[in-house]
């Protein structure tokens, strides 16, 4: 139990350090570590397919995209305003106060007397379309393509419109 909680606490810590560092490159490195940590957390929950897809898409494609942007554009570190105005400190305090129970195992805080706004309710999640005899991939397939197929089609239409929007934006800039 403590191992899983420590990985989740590491998730929290990494998400804080992403906005806490001054250096843009280190911020992206922390985000890559965050994705790899989420891979471990998802594996411990039993979602193997989702974990591998997470790594493939986020680390393999999205973080590479962000790295390209930061490497090709010179972003001056002295202009990171959130850091210098103290917003990241505020964010850290807000984060810890709202998610206090994640750190309660480590700091020996007794949560029973604190008003319930700082605590989570029940941590049990019920998956409505879960079929225990199938693997996780088959469950994802069952949920996406059979039970919620209409929502999936609507999502794909929205994504197609977004794709066309990006093409139109790129095209109109070259015309003007």
């Amino acid at each position: 139990m403590y191992l899983e909680h420590s990985f989740i606490a590491l998730l929290a810590f990494l998400s804080i350090t992403i906005s806490w560092t001054r250096n843009v490159f280190m911020s992206l490195m922390y985000s890559i570590l965050l994705y790899i940590n989420s891979f471990v957390v998802l594996l411990s929950l039993g979602f193997e397919f989702l974990a591998i897809i997470n790594v493939l898409v986020y680390v393999g494609a999205l973080a590479v995209l962000f790295l390209f942007v930061t490497m090709l554009l010179e972003i001056p570190s002295t202009e990171l305003r959130a850091y210098y105005r103290g917003y990241s400190l505020l964010a850290m305090f807000g984060f810890i106060s709202v998610r206090l129970f994640w750190f309660s195992d480590f700091f020996n805080i007794n949560l029973s007397n604190i008003p319930s706004g700082f605590c989570e309710g029940s941590n049990e999640i019920t998956i409505l379309t879960f079929i225990p005899t199938l693997e996780s991939i088959s469950n994802v397939g069952y949920a996406f393509y059979i039970v919620y197929a209409d929502v999936l089609v609507l999502n794909s239409l929205i994504l197609t419109i977004a794709l066309f929007g990006a093409l139109v934006l790129a095209h109109s800039q070259s015309n003007s």
């Binding site: 790594v55 680390v59 393999g60 590479v64 790295l67 490497m71 090709l72 991939i137």
Partner: protein
């Protein structure tokens, strides 16, 4: 016990890398009607070890203006990922083999990207950007080929059986166009000729790893050949009916043959080939196989 497992997995692939370099030099020499390494050992058999020793005793240069964390980490990432890729073959739950291959290929991009950027050199950075664009583009071909393979082999429990020798000969013949796409993607992923513009040895010197000397360069070198060997092992599992040393050696001979024969692609040409030729071709093959799967 764990150490024994690690040694049993790592040492064979390092030996394969060493002798692949010798094999490549001998075969290319034959194709160019000259002699390969002959003097070190009998018929040049000790040449790879002398090469390793040479790289090991060179002076490791750490450029002062480089980002030293990323500079030192990049060869480690490349090398470790190439060794871990070998574990794909040993995964018994074969429904995840292909997708873990995809994830590891996506992670291998970081070795190149970090090496080029952290070198603080314009030419290394340029080589790294081209390499990353190349690798990312040809991973899509991998993905589409794996999609088509996944259509074919299911048994009654829903688990994918990866032993293609069990499939009917009709299936094995029908998958041969995918073998062609897969082999082209292997050449692109390991940045070999004809896709080696990012590390064009005569022009850019060495592309993204120009600032590396000694063992940093050796690690990139080993990672490239290990990726080649492991991906050809996977190609022989998927398409040629099993993990067999003879088939892997034949594929490696094919790759060296291509190196000795073809000129290299320009940057825009390989991008065009990846996106406008290979990806539509593999997707069209996927829909073709899927429609056959549905009908029959």
């Amino acid at each position: 016990m764990i150490l024994l497992t690690i040694i049993t997995i790592t040492v064979p692939i390092l030996l394969v890398v060493a002798f692949t370099t010798l094999f490549e030099r001998q075969v290319m020499a034959s194709m160019q009607r000259r002699m390969g390494p002959q003097t070190s050992g009998i018929g040049g058999l000790l040449q790879p070890f002398y090469d390793g020793l040479k790289l090991g005793v060179k002076e490791p240069i750490l450029p002062e203006l480089s980002a030293s964390g990323a500079f030192s980490t990049a060869p480690m990432i490349a090398f470790i990922l190439s060794q871990v890729s070998l574990s794909i073959i040993f995964i018994s739950d074969s429904s995840y083999q292909g997708i873990i291959l995809m994830a590891l290929s996506s992670l291998a991009v970081y070795g190149v990207l970090l090496a080029g950027w952290a070198s603080n050199s314009k030419y290394a950075f340029l080589g790294a950007l081209r390499s990353v664009a190349l690798m990312v583009s040809y991973e899509l071909g991998f993905g589409a080929v794996l999609l088509s393979i996944c259509l074919f082999l299911t048994d009654s429990t829903g688990m994918k059986s990866l032993n293609f020798a069990d499939a009917s000969p009709f299936v094995q013949t029908a998958l041969l166009p995918l073998l062609l796409v897969f082999l082209i993607c292997i050449l692109a992923e390991s940045k070999r000729i004809p896709f080696d513009l990012p590390e064009a040895e005569a022009e850019l010197v060495a592309g993204f790893n120009v600032e590396y000397s000694s063992l940093g360069f050796a690690l990139f070198f080993i990672a490239e050949y290990a990726n080649l060997a492991i991906l050809s092992a996977i190609a022989s599992i998927y398409f040629l009916g099993g993990f067999s040393a003879l088939k892997i050696i034949t594929l490696l001979f094919g790759f060296v043959w291509v190196r000795g024969t073809l000129p290299r692609y320009r940057a825009d040409s390989f991008m065009r080939t990846g996106w406008k030729a290979l990806l539509p071709f593999s997707l069209a093959l996927f829909s073709f196989y899927a429609s056959f799967d549905l009908i029959f």
